[in-house]
Structures are given as structure tokens and as C-alpha cells.
Symmetry: C2
Subunit: 262 residues, 2 copies
């Protein structure tokens, strides 16, 4: 597994026109992740970070290859991936330019990860809660209507796992996230799914914090209310219960965020 053949892709004495500004790409680590994927990470991160402004052309392919010490194949495949995520757009002679952020697939896991790495957590969490507040009550209502027995069974299991978690904070958070994701799945509306996946990223830490102390007991009751309404197939009740749950979760986190450093 350990390959001694370290070919670090050294940006060898380029010589000619040594550019004054250090390139915005970090050295590519030797993970077991594929090369084009690592390249895409570097590029995506640089773009999301704002190293290249919208409508600005990236350096030409060959130059990028040189900067990162990879072949054109790897670079092209990385670029192709970013195009698919809506970050860039490439045409012959015109170059590959950054698209306006409105076109980015902000719900894509990679894009999300890059943004989390460069954006301040505060505003990002607020935005996550905004969309969650919009979708989750409706998703709960739909889960009550459209959810199959299997969906409902999974919800029950997730809820049980939350209870069983006991003092284990990690287990609690995982079960919590699963519970909410299961709600989105139970809508049987694929447009809800990507939003359900969203919270696994930035929210783990916050959930873990919010899960401590006395909130735990109330959280169980409120999750139970949502579950009960869904199982009883009462959409309006489910929507209401979900709203209550979210309201309290938000204020919990607000309170924690403004309290002395954890």
C-alpha cells in the first residue's frame, strides 16, 4: 500500500517567466484520492475562495498543468468536473472562465465543502437554517402523506437510536441527522433530497453542542411529536410539530453561539 515511488510532481525549475505571485494552489497531497479529484479540489477551492473573479479567465490549460505538476488529461478531467458543477465554463480560444456564483450548484457536496472551508461559519449556519426552516416542515407534512411503511419504519428506528444514544454524544448526533434525512427521503420528492443531505456537513458540530445538557430531553419530546404525527399520517400536525422543533433548535443554537466560548 505504501508506495515508495514518491513522484512529488515537483514544479521543476520553471525558469523562463517566474511569476511574481505565488500560485493559489497548495501542493497536492498523496492521498488515495484520484489525481483529477485532487486537482478539482484545488481549483474549486481557489474559485470558491475568490482567487478568480466571475467572468475572469483562468490561466490556460498548459499553464495550470505546470502549476500543479499534472498532465493535461488530469487537468482536463478536473475542469470537466467543475464545469458539471456549474463553477466554470470553457470554450476554445476564449479560455475557461469562472461563472457567476448564481450558476454554481451550491447544494453539491463538493461545492458545499469548499464553501465551508472558506466562508465564516456564522453566516453559513444561518443560511442553512433559513432553508431548513423553509423545507423541513413541508417535508414532514409530505412524509405523513407520501411515506411508505418502510419510510416510517426507518423513522422509528432513527428515533429509537436517538433515545438509545444515552450519554454518547456522537451517536446522538448521527441518529439525529439520520432522522431528519429520513424525513426528506420519505417525501418521495427527489427535489427535497439534496437539501436533506445538506445538514450533515456544517451542522454536526453545532448539533453536538446543542445536544448537550437539558435540551436533550426536550429534543426527544419534540422529535417524538414529529414522528407521531407522521406515523399517524396527519400532515398539518407534522408541519406544526416540525416548526416547533426547528424554532427551538434555532434559538438553542443562537443561545449557545452567543454564550462564552465552548
Amino acid at each position: 500500500m505504501e508506495q515508495a515511488v514518491s513522484r512529488p510532481g515537483e514544479p521543476q525549475a520553471s525558469g523562463s517567466k517566474t511569476i511574481s505571485k505565488p500560485n493559489p494552489f497548495a501542493r497536492l497531497g498523496k492521498a488515495n484520492v484520484k489525481l483529477h479529484s485532487r486537482v478539482a479540489d484545488q481549483l474549486g477551492l481557489a474559485i470558491v475562495r475568490g482567487d478568480f473573479k466571475p467572468d475572469q479567465a483562468l490561466p490556460p490549460e498548459l499553464q495550470l498543468c505546470e502549476m500543479l505538476g499534472v498532465s493535461r488529461t488530469a487537468m482536463r478531467e478536473a475542469v470537466r468536473g467543475l464545469v458539471a458543477k456549474g463553477l466554470i465554463d470553457s470554450k476554445p480560444k476564449r479560455g475557461t472562465r469562472v461563472r457567476h456564483p448564481t450558476h454554481w450548484n451550491h447544494l453539491d457536496p463538493d461545492v458545499l465543502r469548499w464553501r465551508v472551508e472558506v466562508t465564516d461559519t456564522e453566516t453559513y449556519l444561518r443560511k442553512m437554517f433559513q432553508i431548513r426552516r423553509a423545507t423541513e416542515p413541508e417535508a414532514s407534512a409530505l412524509a405523513a402523506i407520501e411515506g411508505t411503511e418502510e419510510d416510517h419504519g426507518r423513522l422509528k428506528a432513527d428515533f429509537q437510536a436517538m433515545i438509545d444514544a444515552g450519554a454518547d454524544n456522537d451517536a446522538w448526533v448521527e441518529a439525529d441527522l439520520r432522522f431528519h434525512r429520513s424525513i426528506y427521503l420519505a417525501t418521495h420528492n427527489e427535489f427535497f433530497w439534496p437539501i436533506g443531505q445538506l445538514f450533515g456537513f456544517g451542522l454536526r458540530q453545532m448539533f453536538a453542542i446543542a445536544a448537550q445538557g437539558s435540551h436533550r430531553a426536550r429534543a426527544i419530546v419534540e422529535h417524538g411529536d414529529v414522528l407521531e404525527a407522521i406515523l399517524a399520517r396527519k400532515p398539518d400536525l407534522a408541519r406544526a410539530a416540525s416548526l416547533t422543533l426547528l424554532g427551538n433548535a434555532t434559538s438553542d443554537i443562537d443561545r449557545i453561539r452567543h454564550s462564552p466560548t465552548p
Copy 2:
């Protein structure tokens, strides 16, 4: 944009060597669209159509290249794009397999387009309205809170365009779509944006139908109410107005859908 235009659909004459199983890919038309993009279209369509079940491996690279008559470069880049959209996943020796639909980026414009081509309109529109009903009222409320003067100006302009459309149905529909998209933009929450883009695809036709006749007058009033509430920065009012608007739009379309063939 890079919208694919080719609508070949031609079940081409199987031609030379008659293979036992007909390949699920249509002949690639020579549009001005790039080759890898057309290949991605074929593959994506075939996957979304269900020609390859989840967890099932596609034919190996070389075989796929042969089937579509393209080089490995083109094929690889197409595959890379589909991986980026979450449709497939490829590893050496394991092959490239279709991922479970829960992982697909259903809000991606291409994925959406493929689904629209193979899914029946009925259920698809219902799902669109479900998520729209979840997000748009909240988006309107946020637009009232977070929207800048520029955002509000754009909203006003879009509304004016709806009025100016007069008898021009296309102009009305375009303005209508722009109006709603502007609401999502005004949230200043990038997670809402992809949902706002969604409706430009399947809904144009429906909007055009629903825009006819007496509905037009009422629609203007209701859009005006939403606009007014947003400009006045009254989130609760905006949310309520948006809900009314959506409720009527839904029932309009319901009514139309169940009426004799348009």
C-alpha cells in the same frame, strides 16, 4: 448556456454488425455542442431512463467508446461530468456503476432536463409545486428582509414587464419566471438559488397555459401584493401573499390539467 439541442430520438438502423442487444444510445448528432457533452447526454439519459439499474456497472470504457464511436478522451470526460453530478461512480477494476438516485443532483439543470425527457409530466409538475410551495413563501419573506435596493428594483422591473406583456403570452411567461427567480435571488441565500432556477424548465408550458384568459388579471393583482409586501419589507405579509399566489396557481393548473386536451 450550454443547452443541448439535439433531439435525435431516431431509433437508427442498427447497421453493420447486428449485435444481439441493441445499445441504449442513439446516434450522436453533429451539433455545435462539444462531443463529450453529447456523450454525457446519451449516458445521462440512459441512466436516468433506467437502462442501467443502481449499483449496476456500465459496460467498460472501451466498449462504451465503441458503442458511441468516440475516443476514450471524450468518453472519460463525459464520465467525469456524470460523476460530478452524482449519477455514477468509477473505480479501477470495479467499473463505473450507477449510484442510487438519492445521490443524484436532481437540481442540476442537465439532470433535470434528462428526467423531464423520460418522466411523465404529471408527477413531475406535482413535485415541482411541492418544493415550490415549501420554499417560495419563505424566500419571499427573506426577500423582504435581506433584499437590497437593487434586488427590489429588479423585482419591480420584472413585475412591470408582466404588465407590459399585454397580449404577448411568451413575454408574460418570461417575465413571470424572471419575477420568481428574482425573489429567490433576493434572499441572498445561495441555497435557494438552484430551486429558483428549477421552474424555467418544465413550467414554461404550464405557465403559458395558465396565463391565458381571466387568470391573468388576478395573477397581476396577486403578484402585485407579493411585490408590495417585499418592497415594504414586511416578511410576514410577503409570506402570506406568496402562499395565496401559489395556492391559486396550483388550482389553476390543476383545473387546466383536468380539462379537455389543450
